[in-house]
Assembly symmetry: C2
Homo-oligomer: 102 residues x 2
DNA sequence: TAAAGTAGGTACTTTAAGGTAACCAATATG
DNA sequence: CATATTGGTTACCTTAAAGTACCTACTTTA
């Protein structure tokens, strides 16, 4: 689990997963444009990590110019549901904080 | 959620939670001895973060020498169940990897 | 003929995180 | 009188991660 958390932790990672879950599979450039401020270098690195963990798939088509699509694998979907429940917790706690600050 | 993940990610953090869940509340020194290799500096820092997020409580008794106990709050318990399901995923994937390496 | 779009790779610099070690107060103990 | 105990704090150094900027090949479009 430590490995898994270590993968998720890096900046951008959960953002990328979030986008892929909501928008479906996207091309590299689309993904980059959807995540303001991320550099190609970071996006590539994160996607490689997620691909290695088989959370994201990479579909490369050697056309000119090349087309590469990224999307969630089955594991990615499973992870999504767990992250959703974690998100639920975080949201509730955040809400409770706001209420107590009142 | 990003904040929450960022808190959990640091080295030692999940280890600390794991120990507190299994062993119950512990003193600073006990905790430190239970987690081989961690420095006081890191342990303090992680505990402060978890305390701020109200995942762990801190019970300070100004005796001499002082006694400080750490344990999981209600939030800590809730988080524990979610982390357990994340752990389950990680374990299953790890097993699948071993099987495919065969 | 120059620019734009495609999916990155590479080199360099900067920043933040983590590790190490020394130090503290106050008392009990030998 | 020196030492150990407790729960840290502080200063310092090192390393790894992230950011910045520029580069590629090939084609289409203006």
């Amino acid at each position: 689990m430590d490995q898994l958390l270590r993968l998720l932790m890096g900046p951008w990672t959960t953002y990328i997963l979030w986008v892929l879950e909501n928008q479906g599979t996207l091309r590299f450039g689309e993904l980059k444009r959807t995540i303001p401020g991320i550099s190609s270098r970071m996006l590539t690195e994160r996607l490689r990590g997620l691909e290695t963990a088989q959370i994201v798939f990479r579909d490369y088509r050697p056309t000119i110019p090349p087309e590469v699509r990224y999307g969630l694998t089955e594991r990615g979907q499973e992870l999504g549901t767990v992250l959703a429940s974690l998100n639920l917790l975080a949201q509730r706690w955040f809400l409770e904080k706001k209420l107590s600050n009142h």
